[in-house]
Symmetry: C2
Subunit: 287 residues, 2 copies
């Protein structure tokens, strides 16, 4: 059973609408407050060799990326830290505070605890105007599909390519790009933390559409041969880039470096080069 199957099981309790997007959504005046939480721990989420500062940065970045994926501006972030050694707290806190500052947010507090394995849960809130919020459910047939950055780079870093180590351990939350997509007329958006294909399956389910990707358009890891380069692009996790759908006449978004990789289709299938792609990628899995 993987995370997505488990989540299906609790939709009855929490509500379908509440578990579809990267963030929960609450109307506050004429804006929406968006909120998200992520649990990370040392053995499965932090590659060996990271400093405490980098660990703190990454723990903040993963939730700030979720805020960005709704087209929202992040405000406050709280961090609960279960420490294996107390002396790690200062570096971790410092890294999280730096990541927050880099996107105009504030590390506003948290909780500390001890734990046999370093465990960090960061929770962030942000705000977005009522008519600007981007959900997973708005994609329409004919829209272009585009991505920021170089998906696959983080996994290339994990596999040992030193050029992409930084992509892996200090991801940049795409807050500026997310807001630009929202203002520029994008119809649906999410972040790529689990890889492009799993993200497309989520968007497909939420929007009731399919996707047809053109491999000739994929940005590639320089110097990497196929099929590895294409596989990494489609299935690599940990990039925290954005994937968005947008009407053709609204692309490109001024000031945003995004690559078109395909189109939204009517039939609920995920195709690459005309062939169906399986729903695999990075996902926690229960044996």
């Amino acid at each position: 059973m993987d995370d997505r199957a488990l989540l299906d099981g609790i939709r009855m309790i929490v509500g379908e609408k509440e578990t579809t997007d990267d963030c929960s959504v609450l109307a506050v005046g004429d804006r929406f407050l968006v909120m998200t939480t992520d649990m990370l721990h040392e053995m499965t989420d932090f590659p060996a060799g990271m400093t405490d500062h980098e660990i703190g940065w990454m723990a903040a970045a993963v939730t700030l990326s979720d805020i960005a994926s709704m087209g929202a501006e992040p405000a406050d972030l709280l961090m609960a830290v279960g420490l294996d050694r107390p002396e790690r707290l200062a570096g971790i806190t410092d890294g999280a505070a730096d990541c927050c500052r880099s996107v105009g947010a504030r590390l506003a507090g948290g909780d500390i605890d001890r734990h046999t394995e370093l465990t960090i849960v960061s929770t962030a809130i942000g705000f977005v105007a009522g008519d600007r919020i981007l959900r997973r459910s708005g994609a329409r047939p004919g829209d272009l599909v585009c991505v920021t950055g170089l998906p696959g780079a983080a996994e290339a870093g994990l596999k040992g390519d030193p050029r992409f180590w930084k992509n892996l351990i200090t991801p940049i939350p795409r807050v500026r790009e997310g807001i630009a997509f929202a203002e520029g007329g994008a119809t649906a958006m999410m972040d790529l933390s689990d890889g492009i294909v799993l993200s497309l399956y989520d968007l497909s389910r939420a929007s009731g559409v399919g996707f047809s990707l053109d491999p000739a358009l994929f940005p590639r890891i320089p110097g990497m041969p196929d099929p590895e380069a294409t596989d990494l692009f489609l299935y690599g996790g940990g990039d925290f880039e954005l994937i968005a759908t947008i009407p053709e006449d609204r692309f490109p978004i001024p000031g945003v470096d995004a690559t078109v990789i395909g189109v939204v289709t009517t039939e609920m299938a995920i195709l690459s080069g005309g062939h169906p792609v399986p729903p695999r990628g990075y996902a926690h899995r229960w044996e």
Copy 2:
């Protein structure tokens, strides 16, 4: 080094004001948004014998209690769950949702992960009118000190008294009482999760005042002899009741069952029956 010493160390990074109260505070229009996060895990926070539903309830209650302690009304709660066994998720989620509903809040989403030890982090937000927020810093000499409920009951339950097992495992967030204190003119408030004495040390530091308690006023566990009853009242943890200071002419608060246990003094000392009480109680401790 205990939690409070560690927190002192990161005040430089996060900010003094941000680490003083039970919640972080963000101005949103003419209201304040308050936000708090708590990490709990099985070995240290959930007494043996609790059901998954009770565990979920408690994980939600501890943060909703922090929201209550600011005089705020809780809105949304997110729960990150690190599961040792996936089949526990439904019961835990159900318990958290029930606790949220009991105080008019919403379990709005969360994150799941696997973990060798069950670990739950709940994060809640709430709102309070700008002139109603209750911080730890507002206590003034001459104010009365009062508490809700029967502090010490949760620890009596932990020690095996079956009459108080429920106090321990399904604490009731004092949301209604917190709002009534805020509307009724209380000057400072916090919750009692770490026991009365540690809470008074926190209030003393934040407000620049002291406290003089009168043991003759303490509510007692029925049938328990002294000094155990007094000790449990002063130092017992896990009750999630509220402690508040309030001008004498504003007490009692209509509809709130609170007990006066002493007064706020000018000198920064914590006295009970005229004798200083040491700063001990429930606190995580690093050896």
